[in-house]
């Protein structure tokens, strides 16, 4: 008897899952639109992870692209240099990203860094990552990047199969998020995002929960980053650039609604839509993008999902 209740409680996610699994019908045979839809799934999962970091535990990691990129490079370089199967190197990459994320979190909690300071330390890491990739030419091939075709993941080379692989990865990320939020950890996250000192005084081990959130989120970032690297056919610094990953993820989260379950999904979908609206403007696209960003944020200050929720249930707000 509990299953229908659970389905109802997670109704928004079930709906999103059904809608997303039907997307390939909509895009038809167009590989272009299917690719965009696949990218959207990647951004959705990244935003779910970022929600865990910035939304729930107030850790502004400005290195989502660098963490995803670290995992992708670890996975691809290991597969190339040692001839290992991607099924081994991808988890290794995700583990590396997770360890790095946990390290940043641990150090910043221990040093009592404020939001902006964590932001800048991680931003510095992003820049270091890019310079390392450019500098370690013998492994990474610098700006040009590494080709990942034929390294042992033929599944990701078929567009439709790849779409469902990424849908499964997104489902896995959302599941991890829901499990964390459903258990005692969720309660701890809520307490420490309200007021860290009070949470600490109430006996919550703030360091442990923040590091846990960072480790899980970075693992998701890395997992998707590594798979995306193999799907993309090439890993290069520009694939995981700050402008290409961090800023879209931040915008998607704020647009969808921080600290909400479906906000990251809605935000990333909206972001993908905006990108497509802006594309025909050619050289002026950056300008139009900036205008849209400002207008949308003045209109939906708290994010789309919280505003919709308030519309639908005025009493709950």
């Amino acid at each position: 008897m509990r299953l229908p209740g659970t389905l109802l409680r997670y109704g928004d996610l079930v709906l999103a899952g059904i809608a997303l699994s039907l997307v390939p019908l909509l895009t038809g045979d167009s590989p272009y639109y299917l690719r965009i839809a696949t990218l959207m799934l990647v951004y959705m999962a990244w935003t779910v992870a970022f929600n865990l970091l910035f939304g729930h535990t107030k850790q502004l990691f400005l290195c989502t692209g660098a963490l995803a990129g670290t995992a992708a490079y670890v996975a691809v370089v290991l597969a190339r240099e040692l001839g290992l199967s991607p099924w081994i190197t991808i988890p290794a990459g995700a583990a590396a990203a997770s360890a790095l994320g946990a390290l940043f979190s641990y150090v910043s909690v221990r040093r009592g860094l404020g939001v902006i300071f964590i932001g800048i330390v991680t931003l510095a890491f992003s820049l270091i990552f890019h310079n390392l990739v450019l500098g370690l030419r013998q492994f990474t091939n610098g700006e040009t990047g590494l080709v990942t075709r034929g390294l042992g993941l033929p599944l990701l080379e078929q567009p439709l199969a790849a779409y469902y692989v990424f849908l499964a990865l997104l489902a896995l990320s959302v599941l991890a998020y829901c499990v964390l939020m459903g258990l005692r950890t969720g309660m701890a996250f809520r307490a420490l995002s309200d007021d860290e000192l009070t949470a600490e005084l109430a006996g919550i081990d703030v360091t442990r929960y923040k590091v846990l959130a960072a480790a899980v989120a970075s693992a998701i970032l890395g997992l998707l980053g590594a798979f995306y690297g193999f799907y993309n056919g090439i890993v290069s610094p520009s694939v995981f650039s700050f402008v290409g990953v961090d800023i879209p993820v931040l915008i998607a989260l704020l647009l969808g609604g921080m600290r909400t379950r479906s906000g990251p999904l809605v935000g990333a979908a909206a972001f993908t839509l905006i990108e497509e609206v802006v594309r025909p403007f050619g050289q002026l696209n950056v300008l139009v993008y900036g205008i849209l960003l400002i207008v949308l944020f003045v209109a939906f200050r708290q994010g789309v999902v919280p505003m919709l929720a308030r519309r639908l249930r005025p009493s709950a707000a």
């Binding site: 150090v107 860094l113 939001v115 902006i116 510095a124 500098g135 402008v243 300008l287 400002i294």
Partner: protein, 285 residues
């Protein structure tokens, strides 16, 4: 050795000039300005356009810097109004996104309108000897300008009533308001002033080597880095942080390659934040 040290100090002064505006706007307005580098580029571009019309170079520079100030004034009075309605974290987030959007607009427009733009100013004398070290006059002029600007800023904050008002708002906005200070007006003034200082940094970059329309994001990131290493709210800290990182960068790029130098610069910034999380001069100012 001495030449590298000089070089580092000169670079560091430029970094501080760029960062001090971010520090001031954050201290006073609670907004982390992500379009600050774009203000600098805007000032430089305006200068170049004025130069193109045949105005005297000095007047062109003044005009360019002033137009950056006008841009700052407009931004504060229009774009940032929604952000100022909120306080604390909400204002910070909304301000972050609004200024990010602004930076895209400025970058997008300038890159579209002036794709192959470069501002470079030449001085009559190329280099002079100081303490036996040949120095480019451009570097000397650049550091002279930076020292002048900082001197004026410190004098303004220390000895004028308006400057004291500014410091009181940075210290405690509500308290200042209770004393009859209108934070909104002072804020507009400071944003305009900060934009002008960014404009100075942009023009000086043109003096050094050349300024392109694509340099905005780089300026913003460097400025942010320096401002945060300095403690985001401390002006002395920003100055010290800029000079420190400038010297680190000069030595690293002289003895080691360019990629590694930048990594060392970033690691130094990270390290300073971790060792002194409240800013390098925290507790002394």
């Amino acid at each position: 050795m001495l030449a590298i040290l000089f070089d580092g100090i000169v670079q560091g002064l430029q970094l501080s000039l760029l960062a001090v505006g971010i520090t001031l706007i954050f201290g006073l307005g609670g907004v982390l300005n992500l379009a600050h580098g774009q203000f600098a580029v805007f000032g430089g571009v305006a200068t170049a356009l004025l130069l193109g019309t045949g105005v005297h170079p000095f007047l062109a520079c003044v005009g360019g810097i002033a137009s950056a100030g006008v841009l700052g004034l407009l931004v504060d009075r229009t774009l940032l109004v929604p952000a100022y309605r909120y306080h604390g974290e909400e204002r910070l987030l909304l301000g972050l996104i609004l200024t990010l959007g602004l930076s895209f607009i400025i970058d997008g427009y300038l890159n579209y309108q002036l794709p192959h733009f470069a501002l470079s100013l030449q001085l009559a004398v190329h280099s002079v000897d100081i303490a036996g070290v040949p120095m480019r006059t451009a570097s000397l002029a650049a550091s002279g300008i930076a020292i002048l600007v900082f001197g004026a800023l410190f004098a303004f904050l220390r000895w004028t009533l308006l400057g004291k008002t500014v410091r009181s708002i940075i210290e405690n906005e509500v308290g200042a308001e209770l004393c009859g200070i209108d934070p909104a007006r002072i804020r507009t003034l400071i944003v305009a002033l900060s934009a002008m200082m960014a404009g100075v940094a942009g023009v000086v970059q043109g003096l050094f080597s050349s300024l392109g329309t694509e340099m905005g994001p780089e300026f913003t990131i460097l400025g942010l880095l320096v401002a945060v290493v300095g403690g985001v709210k401390s002006i002395n800290g920003t100055l010290a942080a800029g000079i420190l990182l400038g010297i680190v960068n000069a030595f690293a790029s002289h003895y080691i390659g360019a990629y590694v130098a930048f990594i060392i610069l970033l690691s130094a910034a990270m390290g300073t934040i971790l060792v002194r999380p409240r800013g390098i001069l925290a507790g002394w100012t």
